[in-house]
Every structure is written in structure tokens, then in C-alpha cells.
Amino acid sequence: MSGSLPVVIDKGSATHRVLIALGCVVLAVALWFAPTQLPGFRLDQVTLALIFALAIMGLNLLTGFTGQISLGHSAFFGLGAYTSGVLIDSHDWGYARTFPISIGLCFVVGVVSGLPALRIKGLYLALVTLSIAVVFPTILRRYDSITGGSSGLNVSRRAIRPPDWSNISSDDSEIWNYWLVVGVGAICFLLVRNLLRTRTGRAIIAVRDNEVAAATVGVNAAVFKTIVYGLSAALAGLAGSLYCIQTRALSPQSFELTLAIQLLTGMVLGGVATLAGPIIGGFMVVFVPYYVSDAAQRLERPQLSNVIFGVLLIVFMFVAPGGLVGLWRKLTAKLLRIVPVARRREPPTALDGTAAAVGRT
């Protein structure tokens, strides 16, 4: 080993585990103290960021890990939001009961709209999903007897109050919303993380990297793509339901193509095909426009934040296609390297020889 940097530690060694535990503790402390330490409006922003993170996670599963581009996730997000909104507002449902409905509905719609994706690839898929994103708000406006049309849909504050067992008063509903989103988000995060480690996860990544090669080793690309399409839509729909509860006001303008592009931007800025990327992306989707529009208001040019978003998207594609997570990894790789134990031992030459021979045939 020459030089002291990067520090090399074994994967699974005590040091490694301590580092992981330390990270978890920092995260837990941050999550625990956020509701009490942050002012209300800031907490609302964090909650919103986590909601977008959930939607971006769904998009990332489809676009990042399965390689199927979607510009239509604003539609699934909106479908979930309106499903919850309509059920709560017009049918007096408890909001928790609407989650399974909007997950199920978005899953089914996702699968159905994913079916054409089996034949339609690349650019054409981008085109189809783009047109879905553009049409979705016009459908909301058309069926205004259900959705409230252009004037939107408002969910009463009373319908969304913390349950009695939570000991949170209904004046502090933003704290309850925060914990609700953190809880739902954490469950989804673990589910996605675990999914990617299973056969299914390996299969969808194989489909992304080389569909023909994946098919030759027995991966049924059609089945996996369809399922992932459904799952991805379901996650976006669930995020939409949470959005409905958080903002309590829905209108067609919130679910236009701009939203789909924002989600995509969040994914790219955070880091495509990474687990942490969508979370960072969610925060950027909320906070970048917030701080930019602060400056933009002073210049009396509120649209400036979208200019910056567009430019950021292009700049990231050029200089950091791996997003912020990619940059972080590059940076830390210079300081700290975690290697699997087997690779640091002396290579067992005989075994390597066989492996090479097998590889050649």
C-alpha cells in the first residue's frame, strides 16, 4: 500500500459497520429533531421534498434501473393525488383508506400504459409518455364534475387530522404529515432497495444493460418491464396521495408536463440508478426553485428558476451524469475505499485460471 489515501477498509469489517451505524445514527437524529427544531413552513418543505423523493424513486426504478424512459410520471402522480382527493372530499373516506386504492389504480394504469412500451422503445416511448403528460391535465379539466375542473379540488383540513393514538393535536398536523411521509417513504425505500437485490432486481438491470443478452439467459423482459412499469406508477401514485394530504389543494396546473420534467430533473441531479439519488433529487426539486425564486423575485423575473433548472439539467448531463451521488462517490473514493474482503487477499491462482478458461469457452 503506497500513501495513506485512500484509506482502505474491508467490507463488513468492524470499522465498516461502525461507519454504517454512525451514518444511521446521524440520519435518525436529523429525522427525529426535524419536526421540533424546524419552523412549520420549513418542515412543510421538507415533507414536500420527501414526497417528491418518493415519486422520483418510482421514476428511477423505471428509468434508472430498467432503462425505460418516462416523461409521464406527472400523470401517475396526479392520478394518485386526485384519487385520494376525490375519495376524501366527495365520498368522505378516511385518507389512510385511499392509499391502497390509489396504489392499486396507478399500478393497473401503469401496467396498461406499460404494455405499449413492450413494442415501443427509446424515443418513441419518450414521445408516448410525453403526450400522456400533456393530455392528463386536459382530462382533469374535461371531467370537472368529478375533479372540480380548472378551479381545482380542496380537501378540508378537518378530513385530514392526526389519529388520536399519535398524541399530536390537530393544530400540529404538519408534524403528523411529516411522520406519515417519513414512515411511508422509509417502507418504500426499503422495499425498493430489497427488490433490487433480488433476482427480479438483477433481471431488470440486465434488461436495461442489454435486453438481448438478458433474454438469452432466460429473463422474460416483457414480464419484468410491465411489472416495473406498474410498480413505478404505483410509487408515483402513492406519492401523489401524500401530496394531496400535504397540500390539501389540487388543481390541473400542478400536474402538467413541467412536473414530469421536474421529476426527471430531480432524478438526474440526484443520481440516476442510485438509491440515495432520488432523496437528494426531491430536496433539490423543492429547494432550488425556492432559493432561486427568492433572488428572482428581487429581479422581478419569477420564471428564472425554470431557466436555472433547465440549465442545471444540461450542465449535469455534461459534467456529472452520475448526479450529486456520483460526485460524492468520486470524492469519497479519493479518501476512503471499501473493498470486499476476498479481493484484497492474494488471488488464488488456480481458481483464477479455471475462471479464465471458463470465460474463454
Binding site: L127, S131, V134, R301, L304, V307, G310, L313, P321
Partner: protein, 304 residues
């Protein structure tokens, strides 16, 4: 019958604009194999440029010519600075960069020109728009249907442009180079064609086509930052229907999409004027599922 004719003419009028934008998409697709999602917003910004000059008192035709020049430079610049370097990464990367451009250009237009003001865009054709219908003298009556000169003008402009483009593609060295690059860029390079310059020029040409389309549609819808969203979808439907690599297909597809839109919203009750855009989406889906290469497109063979 009268109503049917009226709707047919309206459809052809809109269809001509879709055909122009579809042509722009096709010119780019043939050259570089990309779908330029920012096409509509490039056209939007160029249309605002035209409006500035028209507003300053320049004749409309001159203003449009300036806008088309601006759009040519914009298109060529985008190809050189953004698309070419990123195309090495992946198809997805180009799509994302185009979307970044889409967002940035749309917002930039709103930064330059206050979106809350409504702007009437002057038409280059005879028009008495401000007068009541019985005093107007800017239309002909065909079978009881009013066909305005500006509508005829748009259709004629498309026809003239198609002839011009045909001549450029078939009769000039530049057209030959473009066709060669579209068929096989490697061989074209070996034959001494400057491929990169040709590609820049085709992006420029496509930008100019889009700008013209924007200037022709702007008089009938007000000039707003949202103007091109729908048109991009209709034009994509047109290009899909005609086949993404066929200029003839783009024109035919544009006219058909315009007709379908106008007739469907006129005769099918639940479509009405609200769900017009849905007809374009249905066209896109139906074509891609049933005949992915469109009416005039060439089949793509992939080698594994």
C-alpha cells in the same frame, strides 16, 4: 355540409402548421436519429423574436425572415454545442438535454417577454380581423363555408415550402449531402461529405421551419408561452403517422392529424374542444402499436 366543409378547411389550416413542425422534426430525425423535444420551444422563442420586429413596425414578412434566420442559428448552435457532444453518451442523454433545453427556452422566453401580457401577432395575409363578420372582406365562400385568406395563405405557404424543400433535397448538392448522411453517415463521410457541417445545417433548417410554423399559427391563437406545447404533440403525431424519416409522410400526416382533430372535436360529442389533444395521443399510440414505421417510413432493421 356547410359545417363539414368549414371543419375540413379549419382542419387543413391547422394541419398545415402541424405538417411544418413535423417536417422540422423529420429533418432532424433523418440527420441525427434524434427526436428534438425542444423543437416547439425553439419555435416559440423565434416567434417572439418575429413579434418584436413586427411590433417595431417592420413588415411582417421581414420579421418572419429575421425570426427564421435567428432560428437557423439557434438550431445549428444547439446541434454543435449540446447535441453532438452528448450523443456519444446515450439516447436517453440526448432526450434529457432536449428537455433541459425545453424548460430553459420556455422559461427564458417568459423572462424576456412578460407572459401576463397578451400579444396579437400580425398575419402576413390580408385580414380584417377586427371588423364584424358581415363587413369583412378577407374570405371566400366555398359551399357556404367561410375560408379566410389567412387560412388559404397558410396552406399555400406549406405547399410552396414543400416544393422548395423538394427542390433543395433533390436538386442541390446540399440536399444530396443531407440525403447521403441520412442513409449512411459513414459512407457519406468516406465520399467526402462534411457530415458534421451537414448535420448542423439540418438542425438549422429544422429550426427555421419551426419558426415559420410558429409565426403562421400565432395570428390565430394568441402569442403565449404555452402556444407550442400542444402543437409539438400534434406534430409528433403527424411525424409518427407519416413515418419519422419521411418528409412526404410528415406533410400527409400533418394534414390528416389536422383533419382528424377538427372532425373528431366537431362530430364526437365527448371529445369536444377540451379533449382535442387526446386525438393526437390516440393517433400516436395506434400508429406505434399497429404500424410502427408509419405510412411512408422505412422499416428499421436491427442487427443483434
Amino acid at each position: 355540409m356547410e359545417l363539414f366543409l368549414q371543419r375540413t378547411f379549419d382542419g387543413l389550416n391547422n394541419g398545415s402548421v402541424y405538417a411544418l413542425v413535423a417536417l422540422a422534426l423529420v429533418v432532424v430525425y433523418r440527420g441525427t436519429g434524434h427526436l428534438n423535444f425542444a423543437q416547439g420551444e425553439m419555435a416559440l422563442m423565434s416567434t417572439y423574436v418575429a413579434w418584436v420586429f413586427a411590433d417595431k413596425g417592420f413588415p411582417v414578412v421581414i420579421a418572419i425572415a429575421i425570426a427564421m434566420t435567428f432560428a437557423f442559428l439557434l438550431g445549428a448552435g444547439v446541434e454543435r454545442a449540446l447535441v453532438r457532444p452528448i450523443a456519444k453518451q446515450s439516447e436517453l442523454a440526448v432526450v434529457i438535454v432536449a428537455l433541459g433545453l425545453f424548460t430553459a427556452l420556455n422559461a427564458l422566453t417568459q423572462v424576456f417577454w412578460d407572459p401576463t401580457l397578451t400579444r396579437a401577432f400580425p398575419t402576413p395575409f390580408p385580414n380584417d380581423g377586427s371588423k364584424p363578420l358581415d363587413q369583412r372582406d378577407d374570405f371566400v365562400t366555398i359551399g357556404g363555408a367561410h375560408v379566410f385568406y389567412r387560412q388559404i395563405g397558410v396552406i399555400l405557404a406549406l405547399a410552396a415550402l414543400v416544393v422548395l424543400l423538394w427542390a433543395v433535397f433533390q436538386k442541390t448538392r446540399f440536399g444530396l449531402a443531407m440525403r447521403a448522411v441520412a442513409i449512411n453517415s459513414e459512407s457519406a463521410r468516406l465520399a467526402g461529405i462534411k457530415v458534421s457541417r451537414t448535420l448542423m445545417a439540418s438542425w438549422g433548417l429544422s429550426g427555421a421551419l419551426g419558426a415559420l410554423a410558429g409565426c403562421l399559427i400565432a395570428p390565430s391563437v394568441l402569442l403565449t408561452p404555452q402556444m407550442m406545447f400542444g402543437i409539438l404533440i400534434y406534430a409528433s403525431a403527424a411525424a409518427t403517422l407519416g413515418g419519422f424519416d419521411s418528409p412526404v409522410g410528415a406533410v400527409v400526416g400533418g394534414l390528416i392529424v389536422g383533419l382528424v382533430e377538427s372532425l373528431a372535436s366537431g362530430y364526437i360529442g365527448w371529445v369536444g374542444s377540451d379533449l382535442k389533444l387526446l386525438t393526437a395521443v390516440i393517433v400516436i399510440l395506434a400508429v406505434l402499436l399497429v404500424r410502427p414505421n408509419g405510412l411512408f417510413g422505412s422499416a428499421k432493421v436491427e442487427r443483434v
